[in-house]
């Protein structure tokens, strides 16, 4: 009899790790037969967003939002996967023994949280997310769940990102103060760059914005999705003198590259949540740090965790220790998820790669 009760309990209350389990290839959903954001080629991949550490080429089948699939196609070419399937926000589909539903993550255009429900247990793999406003993507949606998988890129209480619009004001003040210099803004080419451009427009800046070559494709894609960014020009071919007083968006690594020599006495800015910490800015030779992040800050992470109502929190990529500690101090079950290959900021955060998607 006892045995039967145990069996019944097992049937209705699956352990969360039976639904999603970290493996070398990424977060694996056995009952659903897929991986979320796999770092190695797998048969079936479900992808949260288009950043290259989450969306890789070479999978058999890929399920993602239209924007994410488009971005992968832009980056990797037409044959980036065996087959693709589009899913919209709010849409739910069945994969094997589980149901999968996509919700906006507010991280970049097309970014999604993935809710995986098996029996009565709902796990939300939030991917990268932010709860701060962003005029270039659908706002973050809170999804109540039993287990919440959160990133921890800025999982330390020193990371409190203010209003991004104020940071853009700082940039414009500097342009006014040094009209004879060019302003070079390092920003990750997918998401951050377009957000900075949009914020500049919202702040009333209506001069042409110049683009590094690596920015062009993805930025034009954003425009094609109806995000108005005003007049944009490729910086290639411009005369040095003509760039005085202008703003150019470039991948962060380019701002310290020989490429930057084409600008008249450039002021090097960098739009990133890492800019909150002075040493980070100085390491990269940044003169004008702009604290603009595509990830939730400490207050955002903790508020979101609390609001999901989840009793168990899995913490991945970033400053897991602090966030796990915070969860436990709030009486939540929490553990770091040992997933490799995402962000990996703690160990390799310094430029040129590290800025990546902060």
């Amino acid at each position: 009899m006892t045995r039967r009760i145990d069996g019944a309990a097992y049937m209705t209350e699956m352990r969360p790790q039976d639904i999603l389990l970290p493996t070398a290839a990424g977060l694996c959903c056995k009952p659903g037969g897929f991986h979320i954001d796999p770092v190695r080629p797998v048969e079936r991949a479900v992808i949260t967003h288009g950043h290259s550490d989450h969306a890789r080429a070479g999978h058999g089948a890929v399920l993602a939002t239209q924007e994410t699939l488009d971005m992968m196609r832009l980056r990797y070419g037409e044959n980036f996967a065996g087959s693709t399937q589009v899913i919209s926000y709010g849409e739910e589909i069945r994969l094997g023994d589980v149901k999968v539903k996509f919700h906006p993550a507010g991280h970049v255009l097309g970014s999604a949280q993935i809710a995986v429900t098996c029996k009565d247990t709902c796990i939300v793999a939030s991917g990268d997310y932010k709860d701060a406003p962003d005029p270039t993507c659908t706002p973050f949606e809170l999804v109540p769940c039993d287990v919440f998988i959160t990133e921890a890129t800025f999982g330390l209480p020193v990371f409190r990102h203010g209003d991004a619009a104020d940071e853009v004001k700082k940039l414009l003040a500097s342009v006014a103060l040094f009209p004879e210099r060019a302003h070079l803004v390092g920003a990750y080419s997918l998401g951050k760059a377009q957000r900075v451009m949009k914020l500049l427009r919202l702040a009333g800046y209506d001069a042409p914005i110049y683009l590094h070559g690596a920015m062009e494709k993805i930025t034009y894609y954003y425009q094609s999705r109806g995000i108005e960014l005003g007049e944009l020009r490729p910086v290639a071919g411009m005369k040095k003198a003509a760039l005085a007083g202008t703003i150019t968006l470039a991948p962060p690594s380019a701002t310290s590259d020989i490429w930057a020599r084409r600008f008249p006495d450039p002021v090097t800015a960098f739009a990133s949540g890492w800019m909150r910490v002075r040493a980070r800015a100085r390491q990269g030779g940044i003169e004008l740090p702009l604290v603009i992040s595509d990830h939730a800050d400490w207050d955002g992470l903790t508020a979101t965790i609390a609001a999901t109502g989840a009793g168990e929190i899995w913490v991945t990529h970033g400053q897991e220790d602090a966030l796990v500690h915070w969860c436990k101090s709030r009486g939540l079950r929490a553990q770091p998820l040992d997933l490799v290959g995402y962000g990996d900021e703690e160990e390799s955060e310094t430029p040129p790669q590290g800025e990546a998607e902060a």
């Binding site: 209480p157 040493a279 003169e287 220790d321 500690h325 915070w326 160990e347």
Partner: protein, 553 residues
């Protein structure tokens, strides 16, 4: 305060000297008295209040935040003030009252009069009132650690630019000025006469030397230079002058202008002739100069006991004369000042003050030989306290700062050993993401055969490129982690050999190895050398014998 904080914040990132000047001058122009005066004082290190200890800041943050979260944050940020400024949670009360943030003047004047017990509450209030940058600047200010890459000279230059004056003019009157420099700004803005320096024994900004490189000699003519020994002591300026009543005031200044008279009362009676001597503070026993290790016993003492004075008799070895009675000699060529100095020291006739001898040489080869063997080139028994030679242009006036081509220092070669990297720790500040602090060891006979024993720590000497290489090596060869410290593989055939240069050795009961190095730095990476071939503790002990005996004498 927030405006000053904004300036500091921008300065901290601005690498260009001219842009820094522009930012500071713009601040002086925009901000009125007395705030800008206190800002100038802060930038020149002229503010005097009792600094808050880091422990107090830690207590404050501990009362507001979770200890573990603070620890993790501090480890990540690498700077106490910044960590606290970033994570400071404002009190709920503050949001309601919303008092205006304090001005810089308010902060500085309050700190000057505030009792020790009132400080924590006051700081807390300010932290609640200021924004993140304001908190950061406040904490830097109260702990006395601005360190934003602005020299006092640069700040004065920016002030001079306000009135289109030569910064040298400010240097000359500076010792008589005090915050908030109302008279200085009035003069700079053309509202009043130039302030007069009324201090009877003012500090004169010191002249510094460049390190000479092998390639420099070809362009220099030996006949243009006078050489002296470079003493391994402390550079000081000993100034005596008459006040309005004709009484002698004597002061001893460090090279940065800090008044250190109180630490050396035994030298004061010897400063009875009005004048300003540039020289080296040394310990002399029976006429013989003692090593720096010995001199160190007299430094940073709160109480200077008669016993200390007797056992470590202080001495001034003079090498330049900047003022002779009422006459400012700084415009004179060095050769002439040297003659005046010889006369001055002769007239003084005091056993505690003597002349640093010149080192005669006719060619660079002759000087090279003298530098290699000071004992037989005139330094005699004092040779151990010689750390190289100084070259001074005969025709050089005494210029503040480090003017090019006037004075050169040519240090003796350091001691070198090959040691094995054992532990690495992340650096602070700019280096907080790099493993840049290294503990290294040498071989010694242990219970189970040879083992490495740590003999020192070094965190500079390497190039940026080498830092990246070591950092990579550390990350790939970590065997264990203890918080911010990584245990790096160090076996006979696995590990990294560091060539370590250092200036001297001391016996140290605090170190397991029993020795402590002076001024150790990484001089080379020996990727080519297997750790088993690194040096042994016996080598260091041999070096030690000669040096250590003196301290106890």
């Amino acid at each position: 305060m927030n405006r000053f904080a904004e300036l500091l914040d921008r300065l901290a990132y601005e690498p260009g000297r001219n842009n820094k000047l522009r930012l500071i001058t713009a601040y002086f122009r925009e901000v009125g008295d007395p705030d800008r005066g206190y800002a100038l004082a802060a930038l020149t290190g002229a503010l005097s209040f009792k600094h808050a200890k880091p422990a107090l800041i830690r207590d404050l943050i501990a009362s507001r935040t979770d200890e573990v979260l603070f620890g993790l944050s501090y480890d990540y940020v690498g700077d106490l003030s910044e960590t606290v400024a970033l994570m400071w949670p404002k009190a709920a009360m503050a949001a309601h009252n919303n008092p205006p943030p304090p001005t810089l003047t308010e902060v500085v004047t309050t700190l000057r009069t505030l009792g020790k017990t009132e400080l924590p509450k006051q700081l807390e209030r300010w932290l609640d009132e200021l924004d993140e940058t304001g908190r950061w600047a406040l904490l830097k200010l109260v702990t006395g650690a601005l360190r934003i890459g602005i020299s006092a000279r640069l700040a004065k230059t920016a002030a001079a630019a306000l009135g289109d004056k030569d910064p040298h003019e400010i240097e000359l009157i500076w010792p008589g000025l005090s915050p908030p420099y109302l008279d200085l700004f009035a003069w700079l803005e053309g509202r009043s006469e130039k302030p007069v320096n009324r201090d009877p024994a003012p500090f004169r900004p010191v002249m510094l030397a460049h390190a000479i490189e092998d390639g420099d000699f070809a362009a220099l003519d030996p006949a243009d230079y006078i050489a002296e020994w470079k003493w391994d002591g402390i550079r000081v300026q000993a100034v005596a002058g008459r006040d309005e009543r004709g009484q002698i005031t004597a002061r001893l200044y460090s090279r940065t202008g800090e008044d250190i008279t109180g630490s050396f009362p035994d030298l004061v009676p010897s400063l009875r002739l009005p004048g300003a001597i540039d020289g080296e503070l040394l310990i002399l026993r029976e006429g013989r100069v003692q090593s720096f290790n010995v001199l160190q016993q007299r430094l940073n003492r709160k109480v200077v006991s008669p016993k200390l004075i007797k056992e470590f008799p202080i001495h001034l070895r003079a090498y330049d004369l900047l003022g002779d009675d009422e006459n400012d000699l700084r415009e004179l060529p060095f050769a002439e000042r040297r003659e005046r100095l010889e006369t001055f020291i002769g007239k003084l006739g005091d056993p505690r003050i003597d002349l640093s001898p010149t080192v005669p040489f006719a060619s660079w080869d002759a000087l090279t030989a003298a530098r290699a063997d000071p004992a037989s080139a005139g330094a005699g028994e004092d040779a151990d306290a010689v750390e190289g030679v100084m070259l001074k242009r005969r025709d050089a006036p005494y210029l503040p700062g480090r003017p090019k081509g006037q004075w050169w220092k040519w240090k003796r070669d350091p001691h070198i050993i090959d040691a094995v990297l054992m532990y690495a720790q992340r650096g602070h500040g700019k280096r907080s993401s790099y493993y840049s602090d290294y503990t290294f060891g040498v071989w010694t006979e242990g219970a189970d055969g040879d083992e490495l024993v740590p003999v020192g720590k070094a965190y500079f000497g390497f190039t940026d490129e080498e830092l990246l290489q070591i950092d990579r090596f550390v990350r790939r060869n970590t065997t264990e982690k203890f918080g911010p410290v990584r245990h790096v593989v160090h076996e006979g055939d696995k590990g990294l050999v560091l060539e370590v240069a250092f200036e001297g050795l001391q016996r140290s009961p605090r170190h397991k190895s029993g020795v402590a190095m002076r001024f150790p730095r990484i001089s080379r990476l020996r990727w080519d050398k297997p750790p088993r071939e690194a040096d042994r503790l016996e080598t260091l002990e041999k070096m030690l014998k000669a040096e250590a005996a003196e301290v106890e004498a």
